[in-house]
């Protein structure tokens, strides 16, 4: 189902910066997880990837950043291009050098390194002088003041949200031109969630950074995104402009939690919901 034309086409002025073409992913040689996914991220746009638990969002992101190999996953079909070049054979390090960074799901901070050291590793690919490094650090601390307070603590001992901030901050240190964000809002306090998305927006607007974000907080994701894809069971079941998506009835009901009558209280859901599945 397509609410709109392909986003890359819909924004002709923006050629696809990142493009995933009909990829199929198999874990462990037998478990087929992605069954032909195609998506585009135009330069300077924010694209949201939505879908239920286990739909394949994280897998898609890992396929792009080529981290999949190390989890015994293989791309068996299709290809991925970034800045017009095939990238599926590159190492993650080369991708970061080209400007594509990923924030992994589940934080993955370096537990034994301090928060600040964690951030510094983020700048590994950039050869920065001491002053530049400091400046970059300052910027992250500006975004996340909490991190400044905890800079000397070993990351392994910080709270869940602090680790999440640390992971995001670390990716920002690489000064990427494109960021893959896997559930950035997870475990983050509400006002900070807004802030994180503000950061995303401002990086997007001011520094022309493109984003592909997998997010469960559909509400806010669609508020900030330009385009959206909805995944289910390893397939794209719906795609289109964020605005169009958020006004779609199904999306509204199943992803935004608003049905015709507006937002319902969680307590008032008297029955388990009939799940809408686009795919049988």
């Amino acid at each position: 189902m397509s609410l709109h034309a392909n986003p890359a086409e819909s924004a002709l002025c923006n050629p696809a910066y990142l493009s995933v073409n009909n990829i199929e992913v198999i874990y462990d040689h037998v478990i087929l997880v992605l069954k032909g996914i195609s998506l585009q991220v135009p330069q300077g746009k924010i694209v949201a990837l939505l879908g239920a638990n286990g739909a394949g969002k994280s897998t898609t992101l890992k396929a792009i950043s080529t981290l999949l190999k190390n989890e015994r996953g293989d791309i068996t079909k299709g290809d991925i291009t970034f800045q017009g070049q095939r990238v599926d054979h590159l190492t993650p390090n080369e991708l970061v050098k080209r400007g594509l960074s990923q924030v992994m799901e589940g934080r993955h901070c370096f537990g034994h390194l301090s928060v600040e050291e964690n951030l510094l590793t983020g700048a590994y690919t950039r050869n920065l002088s001491r002053a530049e490094l400091k400046e970059a650090l300052e910027k992250v601390y500006h975004y996340f003041p909490r991190l400044r307070e905890r800079r000397q603590s070993q990351a392994g001992y910080t709270s869940g949200g602090e680790q999440q901030m640390c992971a995001i901050g670390r990716a920002l240190m690489a000064k990427p031109s494109m960021i893959l964000l896997d559930e950035p809002s997870m475990g983050i306090a509400p006002q900070l969630v807004e802030e994180i998305f503000e950061i995303v927006k401002s990086l997007n607007v001011q520094e022309n950074v493109s984003f592909l974000l997998a997010e469960q907080n559909t509400n806010i994701a669609l508020r900030y995104a330009d385009f959206g894809y909805i995944l289910e069971n390893g397939r794209v079941v719906m795609e289109g402009d964020a605005k169009d998506l958020s006004s779609n009835e199904d999306v509204k009901e199943f992803y935004l939690g608003v049905s015709g009558a507006g937002r319902k209280s969680f307590r008032d859901m008297k029955f388990y919901r009939r799940r809408k599945r686009w795919l049988a």
Binding site: I26, D28, H29, V30, L32
Partner: protein, 352 residues
């Protein structure tokens, strides 16, 4: 298409909890057991029994023991040979000092002695983890062998420090031919494998795996770390102890404490890693691999008619390279490879 579960519905949890829920597996295992108990004794040569099948079974048992500790309970140990030694020397002394004791009882007592030693050396595992523990278990290895050489009582003051296993007599039957020894070993190993399987599919097994995967969480859920870990050490050492006794009684006959050296510990560790950590089947596959591969390589090297010292070194290199190769192909061991093969068969002829 041959390997399908389609049409095999489980109508009770009991049926679903079976060791081999699939009919094909059940048939396969029955065939295998029939072969092991009937066909092999009829057909195999003495060489096959005493150089391949018996050591294979004994090593499988030891690997099973180590797998319980390392694979299921997550405590990496480099001291399995020491527990085997305890089992062997204890059985020997029970036989020697309690005349008339049934040999199987002596084995069990040997196993129990090993279990007690296991508990003693397992105590540090409450605090020490991972490779620290692994390196620390070397203390067991060296200490036990040292004791057995130092304290001559254990070897009945034999001048050369070796013990000679007494004859195995069960119910008036002397187990003195390779076939008989093989059958005895086979029965013991099958029984113990069954017990092991039962343990790992019930609460004990789950407690071990829980401790392995995340001990803090296991504690929060209500498993008692100390009990769980020590039980794992005890059961594992018991298995190793029995294997050690069989190693002396059904395999070598005359052994010195040195026979249970670090190399043997490592060998058993290889078995479980190659075979599959945390898999009963893996213990058997790994043991087969480690027992058979060198023989196979030796034969191949012979076929190539290389100069012998070149051949010997090449064998070693190929052995090492193959270990690495298998790890790369499947880090979870041969057992997982087998499982994946089965899953593929299930889908066959469709690729996914």
């Amino acid at each position: 298409m041959f390997y399908r579960e389609a049409g095999q519905f489980k109508t009770s949890y009991q049926a679903d909890n079976q060791i081999f829920p699939l009919r094909q597996d059940r048939i396969g295992v029955s065939v295998l057991l029939a072969a092991a108990f009937v066909v092999v004794p009829l057909l195999a040569s003495d060489y096959a029994f005493s150089a391949i099948f018996i050591p294979f079974l004994i090593f499988s048992l030891a690997a099973l023991g180590l797998n319980i500790l390392t694979g299921y309970a997550g405590q990496l140990s480099l001291g399995s040979a020491a527990f085997m030694a305890v089992g062997a020397f204890a059985s020997y002394n029970f036989m020697l000092r309690l005349p008339g004791i049934p040999v199987l009882l002596a084995f069990v007592l040997g196993g129990v002695s090993a279990a007690l030693v296991g508990i003693a050396f397992g105590l540090p595992s409450l605090r020490i983890r991972g490779f620290y523990l692994a390196a620390a278990t070397l203390a067991t290895q060296f200490f036990v062998v040292w004791c057995l050489t130092k304290i001559q009582w254990f070897t009945n003051y034999s001048s050369s420090g070796v013990i000679t296993a007494q004859e195995i007599v069960i119910l008036g039957q002397a187990f003195n031919t390779p076939v008989k020894k093989y059958l005895l070993t086979l029965v013991v190993v099958c029984l113990m494998a069954l017990l092991a399987k039962n343990m790992v599919r019930s609460n004990v097994g789950r407690s071990w795996m829980a401790v392995r995967d995340m001990d803090v969480a296991a504690e929060v859920i209500g498993f008692r770390l100390m009990r769980t870990k020590l039980l794992a050490f005890a059961v594992s050492s018991f298995y190793c102890g029995i294997a050690g006794a069989l190693y002396a009684y059904a395999y070598l006959g005359t052994v010195e404490p040195e026979a249970y050296n670090l190399d043997l510990s490592f060998k058993i560790l290889f078995m479980i890693i190659i075979g599959g950590v945390g898999s009963i089947l893996g213990s058997f596959l790994g043991s087969a691999f480690i027992v058979l591969l060198p023989i196979f390589l030796n034969l191949v090297a012979h076929g190539l008619a290389l100069p012998t010292n070149v051949a010997s070194n090449l064998e070693l290199m190929v052995f090492g390279a193959l270990i690495i190769f298998f790890l790369i192909v499947e880090p979870h061991g041969l057992a997982r490879l087998w499982q994946i093969a089965k899953e593929k068969l299930r889908l066959w002829p469709f690729p996914h």
